[in-house]
Symmetry: C2
Subunit: 189 residues, 2 copies
């Protein structure tokens, strides 16, 4: 998606260790107009699937997910990284974050992820794919159907895309970073 690639080149910053900072417009400060444009593109790409629910994981997936839900008039559910005291019947799985080098639990209420749900999962980043695989485990455990996964940015050199696609999951990423070597952003054409 050209608009997004241009914005990444303009406002993204590359740090040592394969880190791409997009915190001025995606995951700390957010540009709502851009989020809406990204959501339109997700809707286009997944238009043929019979989706009836959008799912994400807190926190930076919420903005693009709510925009997709708004455009499609569908409920959006976000998996939580801490178990709320008041959540009773809950599905949970453990996810390892490479970026933060720690494990965390993600959980979702069975009430809002059911066998009737055909789910589009949306998140900001696809890196090693552990969060996305955690989401797919929750969807599987709920007996729901995973229709596809949409990411704003995929880091192709961190293997998550391959791991998801080889499981037969339909993955759509709006910008795919081929490499960040020498702190230069190279997109996959």
């Amino acid at each position: 998606m050209e608009l997004l690639k241009k914005r990444i080149l303009q406002d993204g910053r590359c740090l040592e260790g394969g880190i791409l900072k997009v915190d001025s417009f995606i995951n700390h400060q957010m540009d709502p107009g851009l989020m809406k444009a990204l959501a339109v593109e997700f809707v286009r790409r997944f238009a043929a699937e019979r989706i009836n629910k959008v799912m994400t994981i807190e926190a930076s997936g919420i903005a693009p997910a709510i925009m997709v839900g708004f455009l499609l008039d569908l409920p959006v559910v976000f998996a939580k990284k801490k178990r709320p005291k008041t959540m009773a019947d809950m599905l949970s799985t453990t996810v390892h974050s490479f970026t933060k080098d720690r494990d965390y639990d993600v959980c979702i209420s069975r009430e809002f992820l059911t066998p009737a749900d055909r789910v589009l999962f949306i998140d900001d980043f696809l890196a090693y794919g552990n969060a996305a695989l955690g989401a797919s485990r929750l969807i599987h455990a709920a007996g729901a159907t995973l229709c596809g996964m949409g990411f704003i940015i995929e880091k192709a050199f961190q293997d998550g895309g391959r791991r998801l696609r080889e499981r037969g999951i339909r993955v759509e990423s709006l910008a795919i970073i081929e490499s960040l070597d020498d702190c230069r952003i190279r997109f996959r054409e």
Copy 2:
């Protein structure tokens, strides 16, 4: 706001200990159409303020905040509850959560909260007001101006509204719960 009150009566659930569960449409599963309608109401109420930034705290403030930012074409920044490794020049404050009975830090990059910013703070719940007061400390420390605070639901019996208003902060809550005694939801008229 009548639409919201009706929805709370229809889908909200009252638990022991003054807890109002709205996790089927606000803070776990979310209704994007409702979020947009709530954002329109926030825009109406704060239309006269010269706002140039919307701020919230992750995670359940993000959906209403991004909708307000979308309608007003303004950037939205969310304070984080964990300090990201890659955040350099950061403002931070400690907030006590009565609900979870623990302290947590909220932080925001100085890059995205500056003396030029006139901030509308948006969140889902106003209870004891500690998170909102934490946000106002961050705004003050950044030298930014707090134009107002908008909440989807205020629990009037938990005192946060009084604490904010007596500091001269303009507070607008779209539904004000007078009491949840005997697990009955009573709104302030």
